[in-house]
């Protein structure tokens, strides 16, 4: 499953991405590629700069280096244009629109406002159940049912995470960045979530698993989840990109083991 489709869908590529907060280097020279249909893991201890990486890629933090989406540089674009060109994300803390229903949360992502929308709202014809199919489909992909009209803040945490993923998928996504989507889920939910992630990447549910799904970058603390689901694993430590390889390699790599288990430094210092 690690073979990338030979097409213009090159996915996401960062080249020497570096983020500085004053004197602190939060990300240094991080080069990661996420191809369509592929699930790439990004792990590292607390404060390693994982969320900073996602923020930089999606335009919420200033950075140096290059960010390419399907071969086109996007580092100069504001966040909403990066989203429009197919780069979507979820947030660690959910960040749903709590006062909107689940359906409306998804429709926000699928149907943008703007002057033309305004004109259509004011003077155009309107269908009673516009976007209903889109909402049902997006919820089916993440396996949520019967919550369409619930307010987002009334959902359980696990449900909120899933709605976050559905919202990131609604309106089309080439590459999906998931920031700790499984934090707060119990192990059952976590396992179910893992298979969802695989299915989404393979274009499952509605895409019949033919590999035309989005590329997924999965950030999580749950090592078993990341290692079981990912094609490639990247490890950050203190902002440095210290490892990139398959899960099998990650399990035995001394650098990774040291970074994650806090083993004596002299053995593995890089």
């Amino acid at each position: 499953m690690s073979d990338a489709p030979a097409s213009t869908r090159a996915g996401l590529e960062t080249r020497s991405l570096t983020v500085r907060y004053g004197g602190l280097v939060a990300n240094s020279d991080v080069s990661i590629t996420v191809r369509p249909g592929e699930v790439v893991g990004l792990i590292g201890p607390n404060g390693a700069g994982k969320t900073t990486f996602v923020d930089a890629v999606t335009g919420f933090t200033q950075c140096e280096g290059e960010i390419l989406l399907n071969g086109t540089p996007i580092q100069e674009l504001p966040p909403h244009e990066r989203r429009a060109s197919g780069l979507s994300r979820t947030w660690q803390s959910g960040e749903l629109f709590g006062n909107l229903s689940v359906a409306e949360n998804l429709l926000v992502a699928a149907r943008k406002g703007g002057w033309r929308t305004l004109a259509r709202d004011l003077f155009g014809r309107r269908k009673a159940d516009a976007g209903r199919d889109l909402v049902e489909n997006a919820l089916a992909v993440v396996g949520l049912e019967g919550v369409t009209d619930t307010l987002a803040r009334d959902l359980t945490l696990g449900q909120q995470k899933l709605v976050g993923v559905a919202r990131a998928l609604a309106g089309g996504s080439e590459v999906l960045l998931l920031d700790e989507p499984a934090a707060g889920l119990d192990s059952m939910e976590s396992q179910a979530f893992a298979s969802r992630v695989r299915a989404i990447a393979q274009g499952g549910e509605n895409g019949a698993g033919d590999g035309d799904g989005p590329g997924i970058l999965l950030i999580d603390h749950d090592m078993s989840l990341v290692l079981s689901v990912c094609d490639v694993v990247n490890v950050l430590e203190f902002g440095k990109h210290i490892f990139s390889g398959t899960p099998a390699e990650a399990r035995t790599d001394p650098t990774v083991v040291a970074a994650y288990l806090g083993a004596p430094v002299e053995a593995t210092h890089v």
């Binding site: 201890p45 999606t58 919420f60 504001p78 966040p79 909403h80 244009e81 989203r83 429009a84 979507s88 994300r89 947030w91 660690q92 803390s93 959910g94 960040e95 749903l96 629109f97 709590g98 006062n99 909107l100 409306e104 429709l107 926000v108 992502a109 149907r111 943008k112 406002g113 703007g114 002057w115 929308t117 305004l118 259509r120 709202d121 004011l122 309107r126 307010l151 987002a152 803040r153 009334d154 945490l157 909120q160 919202r167 990131a168 309106g171 700790e180 499984a182 934090a183 707060g184 889920l185 603390h221 749950d222 090592m223 078993s224 990650a250 399990r251 990774v256 083991v257 994650y260 288990l261």
Partner: protein, 667 residues
């Protein structure tokens, strides 16, 4: 050169007032995180008490007064004035600001604006609306400075206020209570750990601020006399000074206040020069604070410290409106019947209510749906109204086109004001918009070369040969005019409901809920704010045109900053998130039907501003959903009881809970 020095020194009087108000604003902000728009109004009360005692020996309270028989000495009068300032500071803290200390920024802004309206209304009621003369505590005289004869009184004032600010600085710097106050501005728990109650510290800060402001205004008003409107609005330049000091440094407050006062005074000299353009003569000095605010907020932007940065604006839920045919028809028929069955001032009151409903609707769009604060809606309405005068009498553009055009002018102005909203929000946005409103009022509406003082006549509207003028012969409130207003309002409400229930409304709500998440969902947040400000100002502009048409002519008094603030008051009172709230606001609004009833039946018209101010304070503290929201909740409750379904689970207010991260599992 000599004259410039003399004018600069004269400006120190104004500078001294800015020092007092600016230091007070800073202290209160540090202690409570609140920006107190009522600082100027609060400072005015004690000065009025002092002035009245010196005038005729009457000690005036908010209710009742004591005739002391003879005039007390300057010292005794001043001490009584300061005692009032202390009491006012305590009242402001315990009754007004303390209840909203953990409330969303919007509620805090609204509460302080409400306090400002209330005190201003109270001053007008108790001391009258006109300028009164104030005894000078400081001796008049001149000093020779670098060979120039300058007035000594202004210099003394500035020195006294600078010294008092120095005392406040020392309090903040060297006393444990002061240090705890500074700590509380970062984190309330820090003050608790130091053994202080943040609440007590906040009360102390309010009292010091109130006293400092009162001293400044008492001294300064000897130069100009006291006037309820001007002194209330001196808070605007003081806010500019506060921003220059980045809400942190008292030293910079003092310097900036003196520079601003001197600069404004020199501008007062410059505009009299023959080379100065005539059209820019009046109100130009009021552009300066606005310019300062804009530059500071644009250059420094988010780097200004803000305790409110972690909380998003939490507002009552929005029930997405649906257009239902039968209720709409009933409401319209009710409107037509009410207008047809009344005459004269009552019909005019209902008509005004419909117009105020539109102004409130402009707040529903901007604040209720988009979560933005604007204190400039009155200025948008006024801009459209004055343009209408030019458009109808100068260019002869016919009705509906004329008001649509003027609405678009207001919309353009609104979008201009939206630009700062790209970078700032909450209380800072309120500062920018009130500064903009004041600059527009003084520089445009009060500018005789732009808006002649003899009045700005507006040609009456006709459509398809039907005369839509408001009066004809002895009929001062014609039915056809009122019906035209009703139709225009109905069209706007209809369009608003389409927008609110469509993709645009949802986009607004998403931006209101969470700007970051909205951007990551592909929403252009800036564009959305631009659209929201534009629509809101357009609606306000149409309302301004209707006000113009209903009066036949306009003057600057039609659209003061206070008009705008009173509209905010009733919009919030009615319920700022729904059309129903706007309707309630219209009924309650200034010069609307309730006002007419208060005046006609109960003879209480003079108390209207006070009642609306107090009503707003109470609403903002106790019932943020407004009257319409509370009614809706009660209706829902009754329905639930009747249908005997189990009650819905109480909704938590937080948008999303923060998840507790799981322990990382081992490799």
């Amino acid at each position: 050169m000599q004259t410039y020095v003399q004018f600069a020194i004269l400006g120190l009087g104004l500078g001294a007032i800015y020092i007092g108000l600016g230091t007070g604003l800073l202290l209160v902000h540090r202690a409570t995180g609140i920006i107190n728009f009522a600082q100027g109004a609060m400072a005015m009360w004690g000065a009025y008490v002092f002035a009245q005692l010196r005038l005729d020996g009457t000690l005036t309270f908010p209710i009742g007064s004591i005739d002391l028989g003879r005039r007390p000495t300057v010292l005794v009068s001043a001490l009584i004035g300061l005692l009032m300032a202390v009491l006012l500071g305590l009242v402001a803290h315990y009754l007004v600001f303390r209840p909203v200390r953990h409330a969303p920024v919007l509620a805090q802004v609204v509460v302080s604006v409400a306090l400002m309206i209330t005190i201003q209304a109270l001053v007008v009621l108790r001391f009258g609306p006109n300028n009164i003369k104030v005894d000078s505590i400081l001796p008049e005289g001149t000093w020779s400075l670098l060979g120039v004869e300058v007035s000594s009184r202004e210099i003394l004032m500035a020195l006294i206020m600078a010294a008092l600010s120095g005392v406040v600085w020392a309090y903040m710097r060297f006393t444990r209570a002061g240090v705890a106050t500074r700590a509380a501005s970062e984190n309330e728990r820090a003050a608790v750990l130091m053994g202080f109650s943040p609440d007590r510290l906040a009360a102390v800060a309010q009292v010091i601020a109130s006293v400092l402001g009162t001293i400044a205004v008492t001294l300064g008003s000897a130069l100009t006399g006291l006037n309820p409107e001007n002194y209330t609005l001196l808070v605007v330049p003081a806010l500019a000074v506060l921003l220059v000091a980045r809400m942190e440094s008292i030293g910079i407050v003092v310097v900036a206040a003196i520079v601003l006062g001197a600069f404004q005074s020199i501008i007062g000299l410059l505009v009299t020069k023959p080379w100065w353009p005539v059209w820019a003569q009046s109100g130009f000095d009021q552009i300066v604070p606005f310019a300062v605010v804009m530059v500071i907020l644009f250059v420094l932007g988010r780097r200004l410290p803000s305790r409110g940065s972690l909380q998003t604006i939490r507002l009552p839920d929005v029930a997405i409106p649906k257009l239902k045919l039968v209720p709409t028809l009933i409401l319209l028929a009710g409107g037509v019947a009410a207008l047809a069955l009344t005459t004269g001032s009552y019909r005019f009151g209902i008509t005004t209510s419909i117009i105020v409903m539109l102004l409130a609707l402009s707040y529903v769009v901007l604040t209720g749906y988009l979560g933005q604060i604007s204190l400039a809606q009155g200025a948008f309405a006024g801009a459209a109204g004055f343009t209408l005068s030019k458009v109808t009498t100068g260019w002869g553009i016919p009705f509906p086109l004329s008001i649509i055009l003027c609405g678009l002018v207001a919309a353009a102005l609104g979008m201009l004001v939206a630009l700062p909203a790209f970078r700032i929000r909450g209380a800072q946005l309120a500062i920018v918009t009130i500064a903009a409103a004041l600059a527009i009022e003084r520089f445009v509406f009060n500018n005789y070369s732009l808006t002649p003082p003899e009045g700005n006549p507006i040609a009456a509207a006709t459509l398809f040969g039907i005369n839509l003028s408001v009066r004809e012969g002895r009929d001062l409130s014609r039915l056809s005019f009122s019906l035209m207003v009703l139709v225009v309002a109905a069209i706007l409400v209809f369009l608003f409901i389409r927008l609110a229930s469509g993709d645009t409304g949802r986009t607004f709500l998403a931006v209101r809920a969470n700007e970051r998440a909205a951007a990551s969902s592909g929403i252009n947040v800036r564009m959305t704010k631009l659209i929201g400000f534009g629509i809101s100002a357009f609606i306000a502009g149409i309302a301004g045109c209707l006000i113009g048409l209903s009066r036949g002519q306009l003057s600057a008094e039609s659209f003061t900053v206070f008009t705008g603030l009173q509209i905010l008051a009733v919009a919030y009172l009615g319920g700022i998130t729904s059309v129903g709230g706007a309707v309630v606001a219209g009924i309650l609004g200034p010069l609307g039907i309730i006002y007419v009833l208060l005046r006609g039946v109960f003879d209480l018209g003079a108390y209207y501003p006070l009642i609306s101010g107090l009503g707003l304070i109470i609403t903002a503290i106790l019932n943020p959903v407004g009257i319409a929201g509370a009614t809706r909740e009660q209706v829902a409750w009754v329905r639930r009881k009747l249908s005997r379904t189990p009650p819905a689970e109480p909704r938590s207010d937080a948008t999303t809970a923060t998840p507790t991260p799981k322990e990382p599992s081992r490799v």
